[in-house]
Amino acid sequence: MNGPSNTASRVTAHVLLIAGALLMLLPFIWMLCVSLLPSEQAQAATVSGDLKRLIPLRPEWSNYPDALAQMGSRRWNGFLDALANSIVIATISVVATVLSSSLVGFAFARIRFRGRGVLFVIMLATMMLPAQVTMIPLFLVFRKLGWVDTILPLVVPSFFGSAFFIFMYRQFIAQIPESLIEAAALDGHGWIGIWWRIALPLSRPVTAICAVFTFIYVWNDFLGPLVYLHSDEQATLAIALNSFRNQFGGVNNVHLLMAASVVTMLPCVLIFIVAQKQFVEGLGRGAVKG
């Protein structure tokens, strides 16, 4: 029912939500503004903390090419190599994680086999292990295989699924009516065919979540590339940005650092915007329903 109290509560809710959103967006806004400021103004705004100085009255778009050209050891090529490496690693990881996690989740949801319950619990238990615990043993394994200073240690594990996404796929696929699976079986498909043609297409919301989360994680991953990628040509954007910070750190080049950071962050934002509808639908439709 519409009424004064309802309007007031709606207005209050919107004000609070907008205020919260602005608070969350503040670091990003600060970063964007500083990236468009001339050098002196950027330094002054950073040192003084004066918000009025943050406003780029005459945006310096040249900060962006200046920053990107100086990333890495070779002019422009450093940035382009890092970008290409990041794209390759992220793409392979996303595709591999989606395919492997959905396949395993489908098996847990639909195929009855001895020990399914125990295996599922063991799989979930692997989520309890911190990455730091397995870091050294994994490094030793990959070094033995001769994979250090290649992207293999960063992409191959994606082909074995992620416990969290396996769980999400399992929960979602369990909700698909059994009759659809049976109809596909009667139409001549085996388990792989049913997974590929029925379960995976119907799991689009979970796939969006899996793809977005995986992409963001891999794109921003710093520790993995730091441990396994040693040469400049193999560096990802996270490593290149860190090198840039070490080289041009301090207040003097904060405008360039922010410009490089914005460029590094941009794909994650765009991916989320594109997949937003599926993302929210997946979270709302019980993709994470217990």
Partner: protein
């Protein structure tokens, strides 16, 4: 088309509460002839859907053997039995159009080169294109049969319940399988649409001359559709006969009361035999039986049954061999008929008449029937039919 033979089929589910397991189906022997329309009917939980799923290969068979066209298929997976099934909830793939739904099974079963091969070789590409065209033609033909052509490019969520059911049937037809299985396909439709779809299914059966096995709990639907009815209860076959025989000569009390709406009037009493003849006697209810009616029974406890459409009231009762007076308890006027509940002494009997001949509620009226229309059932065991 094909024959289907079930020999001593049984299904036992493991249970932690029952060491011997839960028997959902036991000792089922059914032989479905080529082109026959057989209906499995029974109350909820009688095992009819379990039986159908065992035929389809969606449930394993615990005991007995199942043969399709003479080939034992107990261990053959569902996808290799050449069976098509129409599910209660349609089971249409929601992300595919009607056309793609109907073609789904064909793409899997036809032999033609893969996309990868077609990309590299013109010969393979031509073969793939030709087979795709054949599939399209088959889908088009099935769609025309079921009046689905205008709907081919729609998604299932854009269709009504009746349209979805027709697409489900079309998806089965286009595969040209050996056997069609229907698992209560009309139960989600409204009454009017159910009647229309029933007629379409009968026409389809006549047109395709296909072997069809149909599951329903609706006895009216079963009587209207089947060439033969298999009545099930608690996992066991009660009667396997034509609809007419099931209605006029039910094998036991359960079949007698399950088939027919309203269900058969049953009165428990005793059978008396003397030199004068046989007599059924219950409190306030005595029927002189025709000679030989109770020939298979020993005198003692027995059940007498008479169908409501054989019980007459008012003037029509005056000419009946058995007559009495009854109090009219309730009258349901259903347009083309009236169902009347009458009290005869300690017993309630149901009768059916034309609405204009139905007496008023509360008044006394004559009630009568011909004892030859009665049925006798044993009072023990499966309450089997005696006469």
């Amino acid at each position: 088309m094909a024959t289907v033979e079930l020999k001593n089929i049984g299904k036992t589910y493991e249970s932690t509460r029952a060491p011997e397991g839960v028997r959902a189906v036991r000792g089922v022997d059914i032989a479905v002839r080529d082109g026959e329309f057989v209906v499995l009917v029974g109350p909820s939980g009688c095992g009819k859907s379990t039986l159908l799923r065992m035929i389809a290969g969606l449930e394993s068979i615990t005991e007995g053997s199942l043969a399709i066209d003479g080939r034992t298929v107990n261990d053959i997976p569902a996808r290799d039995r050449d069976i098509a099934m129409v599910f209660q909830n349609y089971a249409l793939y929601p992300h595919l159009s009607v056309r793609a739904n109907m073609a789904f099974g064909l793409h899997r079963r036809r032999q033609y080169p893969s996309r990868m091969r077609a990309m590299v070789s013109p010969t393979y590409r031509a073969a793939r294109t030709a087979e795709s065209r054949r599939i399209d033609d088959d889908v088009q033909a099935a769609a025309e049969t079921l009046d689905l052509v205008p709907l081919l490019d729609r998604l299932p969520r854009e269709l009504s319940g009746g349209q979805r059911q027709r697409v489900a049937v079309g998806r089965a037809i286009v595969r040209n399988p050996k056997v069609f299985l229907f698992d209560e396909p009309l139960s989600n439709l409204d009454a009017k649409l159910r009647v229309e779809m029933r007629i379409e299914l009968r026409q389809l059966h006549r047109q395709l001359k296909a072997t069809m096995i149909y599951v329903t709990h609706d006895q009216e639907e079963a009587m209207g559709l089947g060439d033969r009815l298999v009545v099930l209860r608690d996992g066991a076959v009660q009667q396997n006969a034509t609809p007419t025989e099931v209605y006029t000569r039910p094998a036991n009390r359960f079949v007698a009361t399950f088939i027919g709406m309203p269900s058969m009037n049953c009165v428990d009493g005793r059978l008396h035999r003397s030199d004068a003849g046989e007599r059924f006697a219950a409190e306030d209810f005595v029927v002189e039986l025709p000679r030989g009616k109770g020939a298979g029974a020993t005198p003692g406890p027995i059940t007498f049954g008479i169908r409501p459409d054989r019980v007459h009231v008012g003037a029509a009762a005056h000419s009946c061999a058995w007559r009495s007076e009854a109090i009219v308890e309730a009258v349901e006027r259903l347009g083309d008929r009236a169902d009347i509940a009458l009290r005869v002494g300690a017993h309630r009997l149901l009768a059916r008449s034309l609405p204009e001949h139905a007496p008023a509620e509360g008044e006394s009226t004559a009630i009568g029937f011909d004892p030859r229309d009665g049925h006798l059932f044993a009072d023990c065991g499966d309450a089997a039919r005696i006469g």
